[in-house]
């Protein structure tokens, strides 16, 4: 039972102010995309224009960065989801001292600054590459497409901490798993592969799906790890960053508005499906 109190209006007001604080900067940034002024701002308003969108679409570097971002994100998800799931299943079957040590190692990448992950990944692959080149009698430049800085290292660096997010989500889901089901299936003669495919994985799918979605978004917006490992290539965040530093124009705002719009659409789709699921659950409960 919720009681109403005299102090509630203060809470409502504070909540409204907080929401405004979170959202108005985004509105200002989006609004500036339509302002006909060289410097991105909403005030003073110099007239409505869509030319920043046109300029954005003609910007070849942006499109390359956009493609790179998607490629990296897909690769990161493809690596992190199996690793995170395997890690969760493994840690779930461990106990005692070993469990806490391995668990600490698994969550450590989340608590490590991105710059450290980026630099250590870069150093490790570079040193390994140099050793490999010396061993095989090649120059480092011959093997730098594998070991040198580049988007593949960004993928590896990002996967190291995004796997940890997947692991935590899957591990949480495993807590509600009835292990008796597996035993029953084994007793009834199911093979190990069948137990995995037909019993464990279906239970984990919601967590795996959420992990893939979170990993995808985390990868798209990642900057710190990417900055140190990317080599000469651009991803969208790096591109925006370099644009902001080297003479900005409202094309960035146009891009920002498109990205916010995309986020909004995803959020609304999520909300609708959530409401549908809730309604379905209620209907089932009534039956």
């Amino acid at each position: 039972m919720k009681q109403t109190r005299n102090s509630d209006w203060l809470f409502h007001l504070y909540m409204a102010v907080f929401l405004a604080y979170m959202l108005i900067p985004l509105v200002i940034m989006g609004g500036a995309a339509f302002n006909d002024s060289r410097f991105p701002s909403v005030l003073p308003w110099k007239g409505f224009t869509t030319r920043w969108f046109v300029e954005l679409f003609e910007d070849g570097r942006m499109w390359i960065a956009f493609r790179n971002t998607l490629l990296v994100a897909v690769a990161v998800v493809a690596i992190s989801v199996p690793i995170g799931t395997a890690g969760a299943i493994l840690i779930n079957s461990m106990s005692g001292k070993w469990r806490s040590a391995v668990y600490a190692l698994m969550v450590a990448p989340i608590l490590t600054p991105g710059a450290v992950i980026g630099i250590s990944t870069l150093l490790f692959w570079n040193s390994t590459g140099r050793a490999f080149a010396t061993l095989t009698g090649q120059e480092f430049s011959d093997v730098s497409f594998v070991f040198g800085a580049g988007l593949h290292l960004s993928v590896i660096g990002q996967a190291s901490f995004i796997s940890a997010f997947v692991m935590l989500l899957v591990l949480a889901r495993l807590q509600s798993f009835d292990r008796g089901l597996e035993e029953a299936a084994l007793d009834l003669g199911a093979s190990h592969g069948q137990v995995m495919r037909r019993i464990l994985l279906p239970h984990l799918y919601p967590a795996i799906g959420a992990g893939a979605a979170i990993g995808f978004f985390q990868s798209i917006e990642n900057f710190n790890v990417t900055l140190f490992t990317k080599g000469p290539y651009d991803t969208l965040t790096v591109y925006v960053f370099s644009k902001v530093r080297s003479g900005i124009t409202p094309t960035i705002n146009a891009l920002a508005l498109i990205l916010i719009g995309f986020t909004l659409v995803c959020a609304i789709i999520y909300e609708i499906s959530r409401r549908r699921a809730a309604a379905r659950a209620r209907a089932l409960a009534r039956r």
Binding site: D8, F11, S41, L111, V116, F140, E182, M196, N224, L264
Partner: protein, 294 residues
Amino acid sequence: MKDLLNRYGIGLTTVFVTLTAFWLLILVVLPNIYLFENSFRPYLPVVDIGGPLDVYSLDNYATFFQSPIHIRVFFGTILFSSVVTVICFVIAYPIAYYLAKVANLSVVPTIFLLLFIPMWVSEVLRSFAWFIILSFNGPLNLTLIGLGVIEDKIRWMTGFRSVIIGLVYTYVLFMLFPLYNAVQSLDTNQIEASEDLGAPWWRTHWRVILPHCKPGIASGAVMVFMLSAGSILVPTLLASTNSRWFTEIIQQWMFESQDWNTGSAYAFLLLILCTVFVSLVMWLFRVKLSDIAK
């Protein structure tokens, strides 16, 4: 381990172990060992690597300890990241309490949906938004003058003021969500019992709600502090020349000087700082690592 073999057989267990080992060894442990090892080696031209000059020394760390500027920046980063963490807590706690215990249950999902939008908009755009707002001829100054609050334009982007504003905006949600989860898990009856027994509202918060929220506070504080201290975007976009962040110095070593060895020594210092902070929070709040990582 035996349990895994019973359930999934030798083949699948090998796959699990291999994937996890690949992750923890190749992606986590070995890179950090290399970072540590490289931080003790001198920065040399390629031909001298592995030669007689390539010996271990503490020179890279000495560079840090002999530079008053770098030491000041390091402690400045700690100080201002802590300030950001405290501000985030003060802002987020009433919101978390409101969402968990006061707000009408039917509006909470909508509010969360609205909050997810800034959360999923990338960090670079969030700091860029404040770059526009705080600029000298920007909307904030013009609005404040229009309202008659200030007479002359304020130069916002000096000192650490703009960095703190930007960091709080960027990371406050990382404090809010764990706090919300913590408050929400508290049985409302406990709050009512405390009130029925005559506790004033502040004592209910201090003695009942806050102690229950310790894991949430710890988790939020660790995330906000770590992200702030390790942030590159916000300080670079919003800071002026007189307010530098430790990550900017690491960047300088890596990109401008191309001295990866000193860079890794500095990165290692940042890693130590974060490790110390996490341990300190765990000790202060008496929580386990699994309470923080959620």
